[in-house]
Symmetry: C2
Subunit: 107 residues, 2 copies
C-alpha cells in the first residue's frame, strides 16, 4: 500500500471464553473492523487511510481497542456506531474524538 496519512490498527486478539483478561474479540472488534473497512471502501479512502488488524494492544478492559498513527491516539470500548465520527472528525478532519479515547492512565 502507499504510505497512508492515517494508519488505523484494530486489535483483533481472541482468548478462550472466561479468560480473566477478556479480549477484543469478545468485545465486538470484528464488527468494528468490518465497519472501518466498509466505510473506507464506500468513501474510496484507500490512498489516505490504511487499516490493519493486530494482536493485543494492551488495554484489554477497554476493547474494542483501536490505535491511530502517526498521532498515537488510542480509542477504547468502540462500537460500530462510533466509527463514522472517528473517520470524519479524526481521520479526515484531523481532530481526535476525545470522548472515545481511553483514559490517560491507560495510554
Amino acid at each position: 500500500m502507499p504510505r497512508p496519512k492515517k494508519h488505523v490498527f484494530v486489535c483483533t486478539q481472541n482468548r478462550p471464553q472466561g479468560h480473566p483478561r477478556g479480549s477484543c474479540v469478545s468485545s465486538g472488534c470484528g464488527a468494528v473492523m468490518n465497519e472501518f473497512m466498509n466505510q473506507i471502501q464506500a468513501r474510496q479512502l484507500f490512498d489516505d487511510i490504511a487499516l490493519t488488524n493486530t494482536g493485543c494492544l494492551g488495554p484489554c478492559g477497554f476493547g474494542a481497542s483501536v490505535l491511530v498513527y502517526p498521532d498515537g491516539v488510542m480509542y477504547g470500548k468502540l462500537k460500530v456506531s462510533d466509527v463514522q465520527s472517528i473517520i470524519e472528525q479524526h481521520l479526515l478532519g484531523g481532530e481526535p474524538v476525545k470522548s472515545l479515547q481511553v483514559p490517560t492512565e491507560v495510554w
Copy 2:
C-alpha cells in the same frame, strides 16, 4: 501498556504454501518477532518500545516487514541479524536504518 516512544509492528501474516503473494511467515517473521521481543526484554525497554504483531502490512514481496510508528518507517526483508541495528540506531538513537527500509515506491 504505557504510551511508547516507538511502536514496532511486525507483520505475522501467514498464507498457504505456494500462495502467489507469499507471506511474512514464509519469510521468517516469527524469528524476527522473537528477536525484537528478546532484545526488548533483555534491555528492559518495555516503557519506551511497544511490540505488536499484525496482519498483512502490504509489501508481501518484502517480508519480513516491520513498521515503526510514529515515524512511519517501513523495513523490509528483515533478518534476525538486522534487529539489533534497528533497536540501537533507530528505536533508541532516533535515526532510521536507511539500508533496511523498503523502496519509496513500496511505502
